[in-house]
């Protein structure tokens, strides 16, 4: 990473439960030190609405589930040097992929037709909303991923280790700190 400016870091939330982001915040006090070493340029916890063009590291939580997720991850890949799949949903599809044994229409019908009592509108919503893709997929099936950080969620220590190693210019191996299905 270039030495003369703070590395730009982004965190993104696709089809995930935010638990991986929460685990990142679970580094607790270490967040204070980290905040002076990196610039968080895009994340659910900061306000910029557009993904910047030159991000050093992006951590992606969640599977690719909707057309919007797909569009986002493609843009993010183009604009990111090191793309990390953060957590089992991004790495394997995990919980979001449980829906894959059903058609999107069946899933939507349960929620919006069967389990709703609106006399006037009993149809799945669509206006201004991204459509579901037929399957929820892990990130690497759609774009190249540089590093995998499994766990549901990956423990805070593992996330901190990976970010710290990258900041130090090394390639992290988090396998001692986390595993699938944890």
């Amino acid at each position: 990473m270039s030495a003369n400016r703070k590395p730009k870091v982004a965190t993104v939330w696709l089809d995930g439960c935010s638990g991986c982001h929460m685990s990142f915040l679970d580094i607790d006090e270490r967040l204070v030190a980290l905040s002076s070493l990196i610039d968080i340029v895009y994340s659910p916890v900061v306000d910029p609405k557009d993904f910047p063009t030159d991000v050093d590291v992006t951590l992606v939580e969640g599977a690719v589930s909707s057309e919007e997720d797909l569009h986002k991850i493609q843009v993010i890949r183009q604009r990111t040097k090191i793309l990390i799949s953060l957590g089992d949903c991004a790495v394997t599809g995990n919980v979001p992929a449980m829906r894959n044994s059903y058609e999107p229409a069946e899933l939507l019908a349960r929620a919006y037709v069967e389990n709703a009592q609106s006399p006037d509108s009993r149809q799945p919503p669509t206006r201004g909303l991204p459509a579901l893709r037929p399957k929820a997929q892990p990130v690497h099936e759609l774009v190249k991923v540089d590093l995998y950080l499994p766990g549901c969620p990956p423990p805070a220590d593992a996330i901190h280790f990976v970010v710290a190693e990258l900041l130090a210019g090394r390639t992290p191996d988090p396998s001692q700190l986390t595993r699938f299905g944890r």
Binding site: V46, V95, L129
Partner: protein, 474 residues
């Protein structure tokens, strides 16, 4: 020609959303829509899976309040097993639930909303976040980090991990609390209470600086709903459902979990994956109600803890009783943090908390079960049906944020009418439109039983729906 402004993504909230504002030729607001843009399908894909998996799977609806889903799910399972869980297990579940209230409220208040309150609604969006806060107001930011840690740490000590612990199970919990751990938690409560104290004392000195926000952040009469305990006091884990009207009068109370669907129905709007529950007897228009910290304070007689009760009196004296402005969700959250810490202390002082008997075992004894608990964001309902083998056949989930959907929609209209001038859009105006959503602390991962986050962007569209202008922060 009317124009539309779209805020996409809504940031510093927990989920994926955008807001569309439609403005007339005069620049005045014509309509405002709050779209939740993620859908996940939990109600369907759990079909065929064994009942025993439900708490762990349903917790994955949300990583911010996984404990709430554990509670509601385990309670629905308890109902299906037709067991009464051991009294120590009830207390241990309560302990974890209160720890979660503290951590989740700390996250909402400090990490997500306080940048607006401390740095300012109109401050530079590039630093208007928790990192900016750490740099400018390190003490306040550290308080937030430490208070959240206090809650998360208790969850980890009880359940083995902070996010998605597998400790709450049908029939109780799967591990007892050791006396040594109990002492460690007790020791940590003193510092947590100090932080909570200085935060609420400080908040009470700044709340009067926001008269325009108090007046326009979803400030209107609605019903409120929450659980209350059998004495009518504040409740977070079990209890009976109560609805009050906008004057504070009880509309219905003592509702058993199993009867929830006599009083709550859900409506589908074509513009959001988030459904809109309403009070069934009154229909969607008149049946709008709010849940969450504000509703719980409005619905209860007392908090049931000495310090929190003092704060409740202060709150009611200044914010109203019932308090109608959603801006006061923030304050209510701080009162609940105090109650949460007092509740944790009280539970730990109870000898039974370290009992060995923490789990009842049974086979499924019913085909239909309902579990209701209060999540930090409000009343959470899990309703399951199983077959004779204990396999899931059907599920319905009504999530805290959903109950607030109609009020959030109406709230963004109110705040946009007040602050958005279509002739010249400013970032601060749009931030207020988002900030009203933040007061509700919506959890949109939860609410669409979706997984996800809530982005926001503002688009300006004409009356034909063509995009005229777009405002994104960068």
């Amino acid at each position: 020609m009317p124009r539309q402004v779209i805020i996409d993504p809504v940031t510093r909230i927990e989920g994926h959303a955008k807001i569309t504002l439609t403005l007339g030729d005069d620049g005045k607001l014509q309509d405002a829509l709050f779209h939740v843009t993620q859908f996940r399908g939990f109600e369907k894909f759990v079909e065929g899976r064994p009942l025993t998996e439900m708490p762990s799977i349903m917790a994955r609806i949300c990583g911010i309040c996984p404990v709430s889903h554990l509670m509601a799910s385990a309670k629905a399972c308890d109902d299906l097993l037709a067991v009464e869980i051991p009294s120590a297990a009830d207390k241990l579940r309560r302990l974890m639930n209160l720890a979660q209230f503290v951590q989740s409220h700390a996250l909402s208040f400090f990490h997500l909303s306080s940048p607006d309150l401390i740095l300012g609604m109109d401050s530079d969006p590039a630093v208007r976040n928790v990192i900016g806060l750490i740099q400018k107001f390190p003490d306040r930011a550290r308080d937030g980090v430490m208070l959240r840690k206090f809650g998360q740490q208790i969850i980890e000590w009880l359940g083995g991990k902070r996010v998605h612990p597998a400790w709450v199970v049908p029939g109780g919990v799967n591990q007892k609390l050791s006396p040594q751990r109990r002492d460690e938690i007790l020791a940590a409560t003193a510092e947590a209470m100090k932080i909570a104290r200085r935060t609420i004392d400080w908040f009470k000195t700044i709340v009067d600086k926001y008269p325009a926000e108090i007046e326009s952040f979803a400030n209107f009469p609605t019903m409120f709903a929450s659980l209350v305990n059998p004495d009518g006091n504040w409740e977070h884990y079990d209890g009976l459902l109560k609805f009050i009207d906008s004057k504070g009068k009880s509309v219905v109370e003592g509702v058993l979990p199993r009867d929830y669907d006599k009083f709550i129905a859900e409506r589908v709007e074509d513009f959001s994956y988030l459904k809109s529950p309403y009070f069934k007897p009154l229909g969607p228009a008149a049946g709008i109600y709010r849940v969450g910290p504000l509703a719980r304070l409005n619905c209860c007689k007392r908090m049931g803890y000495p310090l929190a009760d003092k704060e409740l009196d202060d709150f009611r004296g200044r914010a109203g009783n019932p308090a109608l402005s959603s801006f006061h969700f923030h304050w209510a959250r701080l009162v609940e943090i105090i109650a949460g810490i007092e509740g944790i202390q009280r539970l730990l002082d109870d000898k039974e908390i370290t009992s060995d008997f923490v789990r009842a075992r049974a086979r499924p004894n019913r085909f239909d079960g309902v579990g209701i608990s209060e999540a930090p964001r409000g009343t959470l309902i899990h309703h399951y049906r199983i077959d004779g083998n204990g396999q899931m056949r059907w599920a319905n989930l009504i999530i805290a944020t959903g109950h607030n959907n109609m009020a959030m929609n109406r709230g963004i209209k109110q705040v946009a009418e007040r602050f958005v001038d279509g002739k010249k859009l400013t970032e601060g105006m749009l931030n207020r439109v988002e900030a009203v959503i933040r007061t509700f602390d919506p959890c949109l991962s939860c609410s669409t039983h979706a997984l996800g986050q809530m982005p926001l962007r503002i688009e300006l569209r004409d009356g034909m729906g063509n995009m005229v202008d777009e405002l994104c922060r960068s």
